[in-house]
């Protein structure tokens, strides 16, 4: 079922604020992984503003849900999400990537509050998530573990080792997201290293797999609701392939692999901000039209 208009609009508003803050962080830093940061931002928004059972005042709470950002380079949008949530001072974003900062291109879980795993080297998150989910089973806890990988990242064989473990131990308390933005540094994924048929691969690895529009907040929430519903009993783990656009929300760079990482000047900053506003209007219209 689609989200209510009210909830959908509220989440769109938060996603828009976070996109603006991400763009601002790119401007402060001078450059950043803007493409992959924007493609996953709707997921980060719903995670931190709808699903994760966490306590900002007690970030190490042992019963909290975990979120592991395997595509660690999306820190350019993840750090704004964590600061906006209150885990860290928003002022810290002004130091992103600068010498002496606690925040760089890939977040250190021992320095940035709210980060559940230090990632950056690709292909690590799934196994860490598997261990986290196994720990819940061993300790008799009912927290959930969410992990988000990139699509190009799936070239790392270690992901598939982790997928096998999730399936073997029936870790349905772990939900895997794949940010299928179709781009990697050197080009489109299907040109650099063919991934398709990706959903079939995940099914073959034992996952209950769905593909959704990952930049449609309501569709994404529907898929997450279904995965959460089947997380209580040990069974096949869930995989949500999020069909997304690299740079989602900024028309100029949407879907362009060249914007994996980039710098922006003042003119671009203004232009991109305007494009985010335009995109927000379209999103709100959709929520008004399609929301329950």
């Amino acid at each position: 079922m689609a989200l209510s208009k009210q909830e959908w609009l509220a989440l769109e508003k938060k996603a828009h604020e976070l996109r603006k803050l991400t763009l601002q962080t790119v401007a402060w830093a001078g450059s950043g992984h803007i493409g992959g940061g924007m493609s996953i931002l709707d997921l980060l928004t719903v995670m931190y503003h709808k699903y994760l059972n966490i306590k900002v005042e007690d970030p190490k709470w042992e019963d909290r849900d975990r979120f592991i950002l395997s595509k660690g380079h999306a820190a350019i949008s993840y750090a704004p999400v964590l600061c906006d949530k209150g885990f860290n001072d928003v002022e810290m974003l002004k130091t992103f990537n600068l010498s002496g900062s606690k925040m760089g291109m890939h977040l250190d879980s021992n320095k940035v509050v709210g980060v559940d795993a230090s990632t950056g080297s690709l292909g690590h998150g799934v196994s860490i998530a598997a261990g986290t989910a196994l720990a819940a089973r061993i300790l008799g806890k009912d927290y959930l573990t969410y992990v988000a990988t990139g699509d190009g990242e799936l070239g790392e064989g270690s992901n598939w080792e982790g997928f096998m473990t999730l399936n073997h131990y029936k870790l349905s308390n772990c939900i895997v997201f794949i940010d299928r933005n179709h781009c990697m540094i050197d080009g489109n994924t299907e040109d650099v290293m063919k991934l398709e048929p990706l959903a079939d691969k995940m099914v073959a690895f034992g996952f209950n797999t769905v593909t959704v529009d990952g930049n449609n907040i309501s569709a994404l929430c529907e898929a997450i609701d279904a995965a959460v519903a089947r997380s209580k009993e040990p069974c096949a783990p869930s995989c949500i392939i999020m069909d997304t656009k690299k740079g989602a929300g900024i028309k100029t760079i949407e879907g362009d692999y060249l914007w994996h990482y980039g710098g922006i000047d003042d003119a671009m900053f203004e232009k991109f901000n305007n494009e985010l506003d335009e995109d927000y209007k379209v999103r709100c219209e959709r929520a008004e039209k399609e929301g329950e």
Partner: protein
């Protein structure tokens, strides 16, 4: 002595080093429900049989996937569990190097790695299964404590210490079948503190792992045959290394030989040399170990003999280094 398990001379004789590890971890796991064993299809080879008997539900086997093994261990550790991760040292150090570096050391999680079949102890398996660069790799990683026990008793002590202290530990043991060095566990094992196996004032042999017993036997022979007083130090902890014991050896014996079943590049010898050089106190110095060559295939003792890290090799090296003099003249050619 901390811990609830004690091994007798009989158990040491009957059990291989890795079997003692298996018993030690089984004892800990029976006491602490928040400890698990993690392995990559080597539960039997790494002697987790006792654990499988007492708490099979806490043995996590990820199949042949060392990278996954460390990631899983890091996730477990972050959630409050203490994982004891066991695998062949060749794979725990090299196959999963990035995961050891990033998931375990960088995140500084409370994971304990038991790296078995190290050095050339799995000699017949060849260089794919020898671990002669693992110390160099692991030693360079921040946050980790690196221990190379000399026998089963010391392995039990190291496992106890790893359990008692927070942070990543890498305990590098052999395939098993090690000969006995100690009579029991009560010899004052302390992480980061070398153990003097034999007193001596003429020269110091600093060894680790299976080379310690060889050094002890060499010292006994040299005392009888050459009248030499050879100090033997069991440098079981490679990191943090016992600087005090090394510098004491420099000033009191002025000659040092290091012995290890590892490349002479980056391991015990390099660690000792760093301490000596940084102290600005020169001494005669020789590193015994694999001389930048892959080892041949064979029985462990045969490989050790060929490489010159057995008692004979140590005796020859001591005699060579004893020729060094320390005249206060300008002729450097007659010094070692």
């Amino acid at each position: 002595m901390a811990g609830g398990f004690v091994y007798t001379a009989t158990s040491q004789t009957d059990l291989s080093t890795s079997e003692i590890y298996g018993k030690a971890i089984a004892d800990i796991m029976q006491r602490d429900p928040k400890v698990v064993a993690v392995t990559a299809d080597l539960a039997k080879s790494t002697k987790l049989g006792d654990v499988l008997k007492v708490c099979p539900e806490r043995v996590i086997n990820v199949g042949i996937a060392e990278q996954d093994m460390f990631g899983v261990a890091a996730g477990l550790a972050r959630a409050g569990i203490t994982p004891f991760v066991s695998g062949f040292s060749a794979f725990t150090s090299m196959r999963a190097c990035d995961q050891l570096h990033t998931d375990i050391c960088y995140q500084n999680v409370n994971a304990k790695i038991i790296a078995t079949h190290s050095g050339t102890s799995f000699g017949q398996a060849g260089s794919t299964h020898h671990a002669i660069v693992d110390l160099a790799i692991v030693r360079a990683m921040p946050n980790i404590t690196l221990i190379v026990p000399a026998d089963g008793y010391e392995t039990a002590n190291a496992v106890n210490a790893a359990y008692d202290n927070f942070g990543p530990y890498y305990i590098r043991i052999n395939r098993g079948f090690d000969r006995v060095l100690y009579e029991n566990m009560d010899y004052g094992f302390e992480v980061g503190k070398a153990v003097e196996i034999n007193p001596g004032s003429d020269i110091t042999v600093i060894a680790c792992g299976s080379c310690v017993l060889q050094a002890k036997e060499a010292a006994k022979f040299l005392e009888n045959a050459d009248g030499l007083k050879v100090r033997v130090l069991n440098m079981h902890t490679i990191k943090p290394i016992d600087k005090e014991a090394i510098l004491k050896a420099v000033t009191e014996t002025r000659r040092i030989i290091t012995v290890e079943d590892h490349s002479v590049i980056g391991g015990l010898g390099s660690a000792v040399a760093e301490v000596v050089v940084e102290a600005g106190k020169g001494c005669a110095f020789k590193k015994l170990g694999h001389q930048d060559k892959f080892a041949p295939i064979g029985l462990h003792e045969d490989i050790m003999a060929e490489v010159g890290i057995d008692a004979n090799g140590i005796i020859n090296a001591v005699r060579e280094v004893m020729k060094a003099d320390f005249e206060e003249d300008d002729n450097w050619d007659d010094e070692f």
